[in-house]
Each structure stands twice: as C-alpha cells, then as structure tokens.
C-alpha cells in the first residue's frame, strides 16, 4: 500500500455558519441571483449583516441547470437597458471577483428562418443599436462564416435566411460564477446558510420582520425572495399572489467532443439553441414544457423535438451521443419579463419571473434587487419591472426576444 | 357547370409511382396506395336523438356511439370522431349523399357538411403494416387493444390523422390534404426497412 499522504484539502471558498438570530437583510434562495443580491448589498450599500438562505445546496437549482448563455439583444428599451447593464458587469466581474469563471464572448447568432423572422430580427438589430447594444444583421453566407457547421443550404425545411449577431454575447461556467460570488460574499461577512428552507414569514402588522426556517426563526430587517421556480410558493406563504406560472424547462448535453462549434446559435423558430462548453460537451436547450410543473423534469417529446431541430441545423451532430438530460423549474410571467420590486408586504421584495433567461441577468438582477432592498425604492433599471405593471397595463412584452417559447 | 372530375388531381398523384415502388414483399410485406376522391361527410349530431336515428337509417345502420367504434354498410363507413361528431367515408357521389343526410337531419340541431376535399385516404396493407405504423403512432395497435373495425384520431409522426383498421392487416389513414405528401413520404421511408431481413 502506498504511504503517500493525501493532498491537503483546498481552502473552502465560503464558511458554513449557523444562522444568527437576526440579520439586517435576509435573501431567500442561494442561486446566482440570491448570491449576486447579497454581493451588491455588501459592495454597493455597505450592508454586511446579511444571510443567504438556501433550502438545498448552494446554486443547486436553476443555477446548476441553465445553459449559460449571456446576451443583451432584447427588443424593448427597458429590457435592453437591464440586460446590457448585466453584460457590462459580466465583462468586469472576472477581475472584480478575482475568479476566472470562463466568460467567453464568442457571440450569439439568433437565426431567422422565415420572412417574418427576418423582419422581426432586423427590427431588433435596429432597436439594439439605438440602445447601445452591439448587434448586426448577417445574411446566410455571413452566418456560415461565423458558424461553418451550421446547415445554411436552402433545401432544409426551415432554411437559414440570416441571423442577428451579437459579438459580445457568450457563455460562462455557471457553477464557477456561483462560487465566485459566494467567495466574495463570504469575504465581506455574508452568511451563506445551506440546507435552510424558509417555511413561513414573521410579520408585525403589514411588515415582515423575519422568516421561519427549518433551522428556526431568523429575524430580518428586510427580506428578498430570489427563489426562481418556487417564487409563487413563497409568495403564498407570505400572503400575496404573483402572476407567475412554474414550468419545466429541459436541457441536455452530449459527450465531450473536440471544439467544433465556435459560437452560440439560437433558433426561436425551430426551438433549439446550442453551444459547446469549454470541456467539449454540446449544450442544447429547448422551449418550456406546456404544463405547470415543479418536478424538475419534463416530457420526452420536447427533448426529441429539440434534438431533431438540432440535427437539421447541425448535420455534424447526427452521430453525437447524448450524455445527460435534465430539467429545471422556470417562473414564467405574462409578458415574458421579470418582476423585481416591492410586494404588498412591507420590507419584502421579490425578484422572479425571468422565465428561461435568468442566468444572463445575474449581475444586474443582483444589483437592482440590492438597490431596491437597501433603499426601499426600485433602481431606475428595475422600475419598469414592478408588480404594479400588471394593473397599470404597462407590460414589457418580450415574448419575441426571449428566444424560446414562453 | 364544368365537369371538374376530369380536371381534378388527387393530393398524392405525384407520389403514386414512388408509393408503388416502395412495396415490400416477403414475410413482412407491406404496400401503400391512395384511394382518392372518396365522399366524406362530417356529421354533428347529439347521440341518442331522433335526428341521430334518422341519419343512421340513411346510412344503413346505427351510428357508432363511442371512441374507436365504426359502422360499415357496403362501401360506406362511419367513424366516431367525438361525442357528437362523426365522419362518413363512402364510394358515392358526395353531393347526393350530403343532400340525403341534410334532409334526414331536417331542422334539428346538428350539421351535415361535405368535407370530401378535407382529407385524402391512404391504404396501408400487409403483414408488415402494423410495424410501419408503430414507428410513429402513439396509440397501442396491438390486437389486444386495436383491431378491424376500430378507428381513432391520433398522430403519425407529427401529423394528426384518422387511423382506421379495416381488416386484420389493413389500415386506412386519413390525413388532411395538405399533410398527405408528408405522410406518404413518411410511410415510404418507414416501409423501406421491412424489405431487408429482420435483425433480431
């Protein structure tokens, strides 16, 4: 038997503290948005007596299940501002957090397959440019130069007529992003408490003053809900309703391959998006399953359809082996835009409704949620995304730019 | 009025040669043909009413009254599509059939509509027919659950159609006209494998 001692365990990135009796701010949900919220509460607002409560393990929900696409080419002014702010933060975060989470600005192509797609896409390119988002319209030949493995021949069922291209878009390694935020939060004194499920809210009149958890009651000055997938369940426990439906969203990866796919390709029309992760897996996602579901799994026919679409667009994928499929739970709002802001309960704020697009907004969601929790008022970026828009009618209808069916 | 029957073309006329060429012989023989221009009449009528009984009399038997059920009388068949919806398929003149049924319905609640151009009829037959359909139909076609005289609306691949088993190894497929080309090509592709020895 070898007598070589085991190597030293690497330093933990964050502590595992027991919850204190109370905090100035409690963030419910230890995914990307929750961690980013805590990070910016500490960094921008000087609040460090904060807890992030996670019912499972850190970043084990949608943060572990998304397909890591980052882009800001949304149609409407309010969305473009929110996502472009996020993209600018992404560009600085690896240095700021001192953590290389493999943010790769390899560009994203959003394909157009019909005349209607072409019109919508060129409109979006023009809107993007007016909002300072780098966007270009490429015809099919130019698309082929960006992504040579894409089938741009005119004889397929939904031929590629062109695409919007955002060169600054890309992908990042999602779990490294979570760990980077968690380490930075921890260093500023934030308590990250895993396996601590919030089961109820403690109120003093109209105001929330704490949360009931599986690890006891925890007092709170303010509470933020960043628990995508379970936002409605928490809102119900707090005594109000959200215009949210929770749907399964599936994704899959292939076995590892040599680099073949240089960019990110999304097709709204045939319902597939594909990129290649740094390790080499082809990463693909589809639209949501139609029904409500908290099961973190979806239906086989959705996966089948998405793979059929992928093979038509990328003939080279035909012999790739599927390694793993999985599902998450996405909060879908009526206008395919998020809800970030105050709730009917004083001191309780919500960040939810990102549908399939939460990962890319992690930094700006955290930034604006932190601002809202710290000041009690929305940041200019999230002011259009308040809950009251469903009463006023000032919806932010992003169904077209959300890239997959909502 | 011009005689349209000399001008009209069936939805699959351009694929008849391909369909004949795709015929498979041997243990798992299967072939597909189009039976174009059958009269098809949509009936909407409350089951169990006097109007339903009168329509049955015109058609030559009691109307089918539940999922999967059919009624046949000579070259005429009636399939159950829904609780108050039936489809008549017949080798007949659609106009006179529709007129006779309209008269039987009278002013009672219901509808009789000539939908002959809505769907075309494919016939898939041979010992291999069930294997071909099982490649893309979610309904259980095993004899324990399906058999001659059973018809259901379902899908083949992505295409909705009426699937009607008329004999132990014969199925009628009624896709809508605009999907017929896809269905015929799908069948030709699915049949090809049966021409080779079965791989156990």
């Amino acid at each position: 038997m070898s007598t070589t001692p085991l190597p030293e365990h690497p330093a933990w990135l964050w502590r595992n503290p027991d919850p204190k009796p109370s905090y100035d701010a409690v963030v419910v949900g230890g995914g990307g948005h929750g961690l980013a919220t805590a990070y910016y509460l500490a960094r921008n607002h000087g609040l460090t007596n904060i807890a992030v409560l996670e019912k499972g393990w850190l970043a084990g929900g949608n943060m572990a299940r998304n397909t890591t696409i980052i882009r800001s080419n949304y149609l409407l002014d309010q969305s473009a501002a929110m996502y472009e702010f996020a993209l600018r933060l992404w560009e600085d975060l690896p240095a700021e957090l001192d953590y290389d989470f493999l943010f790769s600005q390899r560009g994203v192509l959003n394909l157009a397959h019909t005349l209607q797609d072409v019109r919508e896409s060129t409109r979006r390119v023009n809107a993007n440019r007016l909002n300072g988002v780098d966007a270009e319209w490429l015809d099919a030949d130019e698309v082929a130069k960006v992504c040579p493995i894409l089938n741009t021949s005119p004889d397929i069922r939904y031929p590629v007529l062109g695409a919007t291209f955002q060169p600054r878009a890309g992908i990042a390694k999602h779990d490294h992003v979570a760990w980077a935020f968690a380490r930075a939060c921890d260093a500023m004194g934030v308590d990250i408490i895993q396996h601590c499920e919030v089961t109820g809210f403690v109120r003093d009149g109209d105001r929330v003053v704490g949360v009931e958890t599986t690890r006891g009651r925890i007092g709170a000055g303010v509470v933020g809900l960043t628990a995508a997938g379970h936002s409605s369940v928490l809102a119900e426990a707090a005594g109000f309703r959200l215009p949210i439906q929770s749907h399964p969203l599936q994704a899959l990866v292939s076995e590892l391959y040599e680099p073949v796919h240089p960019t990110v390709v999304m097709s709204n029309h045939v319902h597939v998006y594909a990129s290649q992760a740094h390790k080499g897996e082809l990463v693909m996602g589809a639209g949501v399953d139609s029904y409500n579901g908290y099961g973190q799994r979806g239906s086989f026919h959705v996966i089948e359809h998405q793979m059929a679409a992928a093979v038509e667009l990328f003939p080279i994928f035909a012999r790739a082996h599927l390694l793993r499929t999985w599902g998450g739970i996405v909060d879908v709002s009526p206008d395919a835009s998020p809800i970030i802001g105050p709730t009917p309960v004083d001191g309780l704020f919500v960040n939810c409704g990102w549908g399939t697009g939460g990962f890319k907004a992690t930094p700006s969601a955290g930034w604006t949620m932190a601002h809202t929790m710290a000041t009690g008022e929305p940041h200019p970026l999230n002011r259009p995304f308040g809950l009251e828009r469903f009463t006023t009618g000032a919806l932010v209808d992003e169904h077209g730019a959300a890239a997959v069916a909502h | 009025m011009a005689e349209t029957s000399t001008l009209r073309r069936s939805p699959l006329s351009h694929l008849h040669d391909r369909m004949i060429a795709a015929s498979v012989t041997g243990d798992r023989a299967v072939s597909v043909t189009e039976t174009p221009f059958l009269a098809q009449v949509s009936l909407r009528v409350e089951p169990g009413t006097a109007a339903a009984a009168r329509l049955g009399t015109v058609l030559g038997g009691a109307l089918p009254d539940g999922v999967g059920r059919t009624m046949t009388a000579g070259t005429l068949g009636v399939a159950w599509l829904g609780p108050d919806e039936l489809l008549v398929v017949a080798q007949a003149d659609p106009q006179s059939l529709t007129a006779a049924l309209s008269e039987a319905l009278g002013s009672d609640r219901g509808a009789v509509v000539d939908v002959s151009a809505n769907r075309t009829v494919l016939e898939l037959s041979g010992p291999g027919a069930r294997s071909v359909l099982e490649k893309g139909c979610p309904v259980d076609l095993h004899p324990r659950a399906f058999g001659p005289g059973v018809a259901v609306t379902t899908t083949l691949g992505p295409v909705p159609l009426l699937l009607w088993q008329t004999a132990p190894a014969t199925y009628r497929l009624l896709p809508r006209t605009s999907f017929a080309d896809y269905v015929a090509r799908w069948l030709v592709d699915a049949m090809t494998e049966l021409g080779s020895p079965e791989v156990p």
Partner: protein, 102 residues
C-alpha cells in the same frame, strides 16, 4: 412521458393534448364593474399550486374536447379527470376511464 385519460377517448399519449392552465376560473359576470386591480387579478393571476392542481386540457388531435384534470405538479401524477361543468372531484374519486372498443 405522461399518459392522460381523456374522459371520452381513454388513455392517450400526452402529445395528443393541449394544455389550458388553471380550471374553474369564471369570466367575471360584470367586467365593466371591476376595479383595475380586480381586472388584473382575472387577467394575469392564476394559482401556481405545488401539489394537486385542477387544470384544463384539450384532446386536440383526438376528439377535440376540453376537459379538466387534477394533477400533482410535483410528481405529474394525474389524480382525476372529469368533464367540463362537473365539479372538481374529491381526490381519490378518479373518473373511470372509458374502455375503447373492441
């Protein structure tokens, strides 16, 4: 894969159905009398139950009828199916599936 039992056609593959969201949401009797809040509630707010949920489905490629189902949104188990207009059944009283001919 989810097998759904249509009250008229029996058990069929999920791909034959279309989802219709929460069941038993009545159209307001006098929409013009509603406040903006009440109208928003009707238009945009639906239950998002984690557990048994009464919801609408249409057998869109089959008999084309709408019906209701109680389904557990955690396990996707269908606990009951019933015809539109019928009250939501007590759990355990699943409507027996019709037997397809023959």
């Amino acid at each position: 894969m989810m097998l759904l039992t249509c009250p008229w056609c029996g058990p069929r593959n999920e791909t034959e159905f279309h989802y219709g969201g929460q069941a038993h949401v009545a159209y307001p009797e006098r929409p013009a009398d509603l406040t903006d809040e009440e109208w928003a509630e009707f238009l945009f707010f639906r239950d998002n139950t984690r557990g048994p949920f009464a919801e609408r489905w249409a057998h869109s490629v089959g008999c084309r009828r709408w019906f209701n189902a109680v389904r557990d949104t955690r396990t996707y188990e269908v606990l009951a199916v019933y015809r539109p207009g019928d009250p939501r059944p007590a759990l355990g009283d699943a409507v027996p599936a019709p037997t397809p001919a023959p």
